[in-house]
Amino acid sequence: MGVLTNIGLISFVALSAYLLILAGEMSFGQQGFFGVGAYTAGVATAMYGVPLPIAALMAMGAGAAAAFLVGLPTLRLRGLYFAMATLAAAEMLRIVFELIHFQREIDGEPVGPDGTQGFRGIRWVFENGVEREGYLAMVWGLLFVVVILFLIVERSKLGATLRMLGEDPELARMLGIHVERFKLGVVATAGALAALGGALYAHHNTYIEPRNFDIMLGVHSLAYALIGGLGTVFGPLLGVLIDIGALEGSRVFHGYRMIVFGGLVAVLLIFRPRGLLDERVVHWLKRRLA
């Protein structure tokens, strides 16, 4: 069950990275917005008694705003430079988390982010009697909604525009797409999505600390999208399933899983640069099913 919840939670970050790849941008920084979401929602529920659903919305707003602000200067950069700038931004966010000491006395106990000591007692789920099964259903329910939204968007003009930006932003620009404005919107949406995952993670774990939001998470979420495939929203989910579900869940590789995972990413990038479920496979499947 823990595995299932983890798969659900990490899928939010993976989808957030996937959304950006669709628009042609590789971000190594989605973990930063995941963290913004985790801290925002944690502060809201644990310190101010805000119900989790509203706190999650607040987290999404904060994640979108943070991503928008990071996107404003970094979207001028291309390719590798954008990737590095997003990584730098996420590391800056992590250091900000380390510096935040913001606590309130609640029932005689200080509650709130305490720098590197972490942020304990995000106990909304327990205080409201939500059982593990209930929370799992909540995480997967939200993920289901997100996936449905992705499917709707992929079929719409919006989705086509996204793919145009991803495939050839210059050509998209020539066809009259306001590339910069559109990308800012994508960046903010991806930030909100990662932040939603962060909010859910904080309440699943009851404890967060700045180190949760370091580069490991960012690299993994990017890798999930890349190995799973960029042709459909199910690609990144497949990526998560392969890593967390199969490699980690089975525990065959024990401590060597990271090596196996790294090797898998390397092999796939050579033979299937756009992942297992890439556009061609998805196109073939669609024609098969149609």
Binding site: K157, D168, G176
Partner: protein, 238 residues
């Protein structure tokens, strides 16, 4: 005839290097105007500047009576100019149909009938409408790029070397399409290296060398110019 496009004293630079050094030319309403010139003369730079991809340093571009120099591409597409770029023809991982839809990005009205009409004009595209554009042949991709540009119902079609790298038979087909479009009333500004073909369709010619227009005249004048004939038409008389 009135000028649909007027380019005056246009200078576009990459850093310190001026690719366009004060270009002047006109494209008349309803005409096919052809721009010849060697590689590196600045032809593509001119197209990119007109389409708004590059910002000019100085100079003026008037299109349909409005100053458009320095405007962003989406504003220029909205104004009614569509570019068929060189080498960057299609979105390879999108279907032919999706590529056509992409051309209608700014349109809010129903364009289903436009697609039907384009499919009658380009039957090959209809056959392949659900294929990924990357799987088309070079000529088909060029046709798709032209069809996509037409989806925005442009007043002016900017075509950057449509015959580049295509087999002679395909080139002929492309030029047949250009003639048809012209008969339908679309104004066309064409950059071409293939002067033989261009001579058959265009009403006015410009020659560009090292960022400047060095010749302007009718097909007849072009064919009689000794220097141009040697450089662009070979020794044989056109």
């Amino acid at each position: 005839m009135t000028a649909l496009l007027e380019v005056r004293d246009l200078v576009t630079a990459y850093g310190k290097i001026e690719a366009l050094k004060g270009v002047n030319l006109d494209v008349q309403q309803g005409s096919i105007t052809c721009l010849l010139g060697p590689n590196g003369a600045g032809k593509t730079t001119l197209m990119m500047t007109i389409a708004g991809i590059l910002r000019p340093r100085i100079g003026s571009i008037r299109f349909a009576g409005e100053e458009i120099a320095g405007r962003p591409p989406h504003a220029i597409v909205a104004g009614g100019a569509a570019l068929v770029p060189e080498n960057r023809l299609v979105f390879p991982n999108m279907t032919v149909l999706d590529n056509l839809h992409a051309g209608a990005y700014q349109r809010k009205d129903d364009f289903a009938s436009d697609i039907e009409r384009l499919f009658t004009r380009f039957p090959r595209l209809k056959e392949r409408s659900t294929q990924l554009a990357g799987t088309l042949s070079g000529g088909e991709q060029q046709m798709l790029a032209v069809a996509r540009a037409l989806m925005s119902r442009p007043k002016l079609l900017l075509m950057d070397e449509p015959s580049l790298g295509l087999a002679p038979l395909v080139v002929e087909e492309i030029f047949r399409i250009i003639t048809q479009l012209h008969q339908d009333g679309v104004s066309i500004f064409l950059v071409e290296q293939n002067a033989h073909m261009a001579l058959k369709v265009a009403q006015h010619f410009y020659l560009m060398e090292q960022g400047k227009v060095t010749f302007s005249g009718t097909p007849g004048a072009l064919a009689e110019d000794e220097v141009i004939r040697r450089a662009y038409l070979g020794s044989a008389r056109a």
